[in-house]
């Protein structure tokens, strides 16, 4: 829609599950175009619930979500799901087609793209994550790190407005973790990254928000939040042993 609207705008979002458990109590969050933001918070803070609201999988609560100016509502769902690319935590859930190529093609093909245009889209997305050579392989023959990269490609193929990553570094060995970071840094796309991996958040995201007990408890430069010991303790966030966020020089983003 209009180019000056932020990639993501969440306002006053509250949600309770049908069993009565209330997960979100009025979340306000704005992510500008091209920003990389880390969404931090303890288990059970409502992070997944928030993510599932971004593309309208969960709805029916109070408040609004809009993506690049387009409200998440039933009539816009197809377009919203093209604009919001969610990479789920387990790549085996994300990669459900028999070959990598077909999986990456799934999103654009569901939107009606065919033929040479589709092939180009698939190739570009796979090249962005360095997996073009694996196009005809079945996903379960890839290593975990490769599968995660293909999972990123499956949503990049839809040219999303915002990339939402759920625990992108989980279960990755250090080399795969760094390779994924290089890929994410090279992409020209807005990123919202849900993670418990605080060093990874510091490395990749200049800005972080803390979601705790269903509200945004803090929002600021990642380094500042991680250095605030009182804040961190209050929200059950802990740095890995020996890691001092003060000692790291964060490059200008």
């Amino acid at each position: 829609m209009n180019d000056d609207s932020p990639s993501l705008e969440v306002s006053g979002l509250a949600f309770a599950y049908p069993d009565g458990h209330q997960a979100l109590f009025g979340v306000d969050l704005t992510v500008g175009r091209g920003e990389r933001v880390a969404l931090l918070g303890p288990n059970g803070a409502g992070k997944t619930t928030l993510v599932l609201h971004l593309n309208g999988i969960l709805t029916g609560g109070v408040g609004t979500v809009s993506v690049a100016g387009l409200p998440v509502a039933k009539r816009n769902l197809a377009e919203i799901r093209r604009r919001v690319g969610i990479v789920f935590q387990d790549p085996d859930d994300q990669l459900f087609m028999p070959t990598v190529r077909e999986d990456v093609a799934f999103g654009p093909a569901a939107a009606g793209m065919r033929g040479a245009e589709l092939e180009t889209r698939v190739r570009e997305a796979l090249e962005q994550v360095g997996m073009a050579a694996f196009a005809d392989r079945p996903p379960h023959h890839l290593s975990f790190g490769q599968r995660r990269r293909v999972a990123v490609a499956t949503v990049l193929a839809m040219r999303p407005e915002i990339l939402v990553l759920d625990e992108p570094s989980s279960n990755l060995d250090p080399a795969s973790r760094r390779e994924l970071a290089d890929i994410l840094r090279s992409l020209d796309v807005t990123v919202l990254m849900v993670t418990h991996d605080l060093p990874y958040a510091l490395e990749l995201c200049p800005r972080a928000v803390i979601l705790s007990e269903g509200v945004i408890a803090a929002d600021g430069p990642t380094q500042r939040l991680l250095c605030d010991e009182k804040l961190m303790r209050a929200h059950r966030l802990e740095l890995p042993f020996g890691f001092d966020p003060r000692s790291v020089t964060v490059g200008a983003a």
Binding site: V84, P98, A110
Partner: protein, 253 residues
Amino acid sequence: MGAGHAHKLFRHGHSPVHALPAHCKLAATFAFVLVVVSTPRGAVWAFGLYAVLIATVAAAARIPAGFLLRRLVIEVPFVLFAFLMPFVAEGERVGFLGMSLSVPGLWGAWNVLAKGTLGVAASVLLASTTELRALLLGLQRLRLPPLLVQIASFMIRYGDVITDELRRMSIARRSRGFEARGVRHWGVLAKTAGALFIRSYERGERVYLAMVSRGYAGSMPVIDDVAATRAQWAYAAALPVTALAVCLMGWTL
């Protein structure tokens, strides 16, 4: 389609039979089997001709006879059943090597054996010249209900994932000192099966979420649309049409 899903039934090759679109081969195999089963069992020579037809196709597909015969072993349980028929069926009896055999039973056994073997041979040829993935696309193209095709393709994709899960559960059981030794342990195995079912069910839900997030709205997008030319259809029809001629002769002669 690349080396992707090289199933053990499939035999890689570049014969004209391999090159035919899967839906042509499926239709031809199905028609051939229909013709074979509708041939009168008394026309013994007709079944001989069918066998020659199958051998011709196998030669065109460059499938060695040994390979085809080994695959036919799957038929054995049915053959055993056929061998029982002359002993248990009613009616006129003949003596053979001191055994009393029923004549209608012998004809019944011949009927099952001949038609079964030809049907299995045709299916083996289809499976060894067509990749699993292509077969599914062929079924889709032949307008099999899309839900059935989707279920089958998810079975292929997740078969390994679920087997792997089962293997991990078995390792976890054995690591805690459990060995299945007889009936008393069946309860534990049953609980494993139940747990596996629940895990798979939950995975199904997560996969569905991932699909919906990428624009799935009830039907799989067509990514590879293979159209068959008239010549390809004609080539594939050669087998069932010749068989039909044999069958008609079987009824009239």
